[in-house]
């Protein structure tokens, strides 16, 4: 499998930590020191389908393909604009595709799960071109009365079009049942024949320390594993893209693996945790900035509720785009973030 095209889109609305100070008992300093997040993008309405469509159209354009060229649409998402139809099916018409479409739920690791799934379809000869999307509206799942968790999340969508090739050198997917560490209960519905649950749904719930420990140990294990399968040392990677969940997790993984900070970029300070969208958003930002060159090795690692994780090593095959978008501050946390006007 090779990535033939890539694109991403963030919602227009920026929400800064200062704005959160006005509605929550929190502070910009508290949020920054514990998460590295200064602002995030938050959807104004039920527009995830449009966000994902926009990212997909950019990826198709970048690949020089049309929707009709697709053999499958595979969307990693926790929940689209509807419980059903799936987000992928809602996207199909908008991109002019006629192919099968399905959503894949592997929480924040969803994009890497979806890449591996796409690779398997292509290797089996059952598909030539697959659109793989990571799209999330996590801010509408968060509990905005819980100041320890709602500050973490942002919305966004990233997409790639993949085709035949040898670019995916190694992948590792894991899952281990542990629902208490990170979960969100489903709505119980209103069946008169069903007892109401003991615990009412109340958005995302998280045991922060346990998530931190899982994320750091699992990412280290997964990255070491995929580098070994790819026959490379992690220090040989041109880029190591870690799921943008928390700057403290990113720093802990980077330090423990003794990775060069210049090879571990981040945009979490601007995006927050966008779940399954975080890896393709970051990858697209690097690509648009002209930082990815053919032959470069890219390791990626993500983890999330389940508990699940995914990691892979890619050999990048695309030339930089004709029109470059200068990289914003990908490698450091800005001191001053003011609301966009």
């Amino acid at each position: 499998m090779n990535i033939l095209g890539i694109g991403s889109t963030l919602p227009e609305q920026t929400v800064t930590n200062r704005q959160l100070e006005e509605i929550l008992e929190t502070s910009d300093a508290w949020i920054r020191s514990r998460t590295g997040i200064a602002q995030r993008r938050v959807m104004k309405g039920s527009e995830l389908t449009n966000l994902a469509l926009s990212a997909a159209q950019k990826a198709l354009l970048d690949a020089g393909l049309n929707g009709a060229d697709l053999d499958m649409i595979l969307v990693a998402t926790t929940m689209g604009d509807y419980v059903f139809p799936s987000l992928s099916c809602l996207m199909q018409e908008g991109i002019g595709a006629l192919c099968p479409a399905m959503d894949l739920h592997a929480a924040c690791a969803g994009f890497i799960y979806a890449l591996e799934t796409a690779d398997s379809f292509i290797k089996a000869g059952k598909a030539k071109h697959i659109l793989v999307v990571g799209a999330e509206a996590i801010t509408r799942l968060a509990n905005w009365n819980d100041r320890t968790t709602c500050v973490l999340f942002g919305d966004g969508a990233g997409a790639v079009v993949v085709g035949a090739g040898e670019g995916l050198l190694a992948t590792r997917l894991t899952a281990r049942t542990d629902k208490d560490v990170l979960y969100m209960l489903a709505e119980p519905g209103n069946s008169p024949f069903t007892n109401q649950p003991d615990e009412a749904p109340a958005g995302v719930k998280m045991q922060g320390q346990e998530v931190f420990r899982f994320a750091v140990t699992q990412s280290i294990e997964d990255l070491t594993w995929v580098a070994d399968i790819a026959g490379k040392a992690l220090q040989e990677m041109d880029w190591v893209l870690l799921h943008q969940a928390n700057r403290r997790i990113i720093d802990a993984v980077r330090q423990r693996l003794k990775l060069d900070p210049a090879r571990v970029p981040g945009n979490i300070h601007r995006t927050g945790n966008t779940s399954a969208a975080s890896i393709p958003l970051l990858l697209d930002e690097l690509y648009r900035a002209g930082l990815l060159e053919p032959g470069q090795l890219i390791a990626m690692s993500a983890f999330g509720a389940g508990l699940v994780s995914g990691a892979c090593v890619l050999r990048w095959g695309k030339e930089p785009p004709d029109k470059l978008t200068p990289a914003e501050d990908l490698f450091s946390l800005p001191v001053n973030i003011t609301p966009e006007t």
Partner: protein, 75 residues
């Protein structure tokens, strides 16, 4: 000071650039300006050092409590 307390004090001192001799069982993590994620990272280091698994949820915020949990896990 026993071995476990000494190792924990040294790990804390390394993390806070402080003096290990100034850390006692009564010292609380917030007095050392450590937040919950610092404690989680400290626990991960100590798990590796002692080759044990520590239940983070049982730690009440004091160094002595962490030492007691390590001692129980190591037995």
């Amino acid at each position: 000071m026993d071995d476990i307390m000494r190792k924990v004090a040294l790990a804390l001192a390394a993390r806070t650039s402080g003096d290990p001799d100034g850390i006692t069982a009564e010292t609380r993590f917030n007095e050392l300006a450590l937040d919950s994620l610092d404690v989680a990272e400290l626990v991960m280091d100590l798990e590796d050092d002692f080759n044990i698994t520590i239940d983070i949820s049982r730690i009440d915020g004091s160094v002595g409590d962490l030492v007691r949990i390590i001692r129980e896990a190591a037995e």
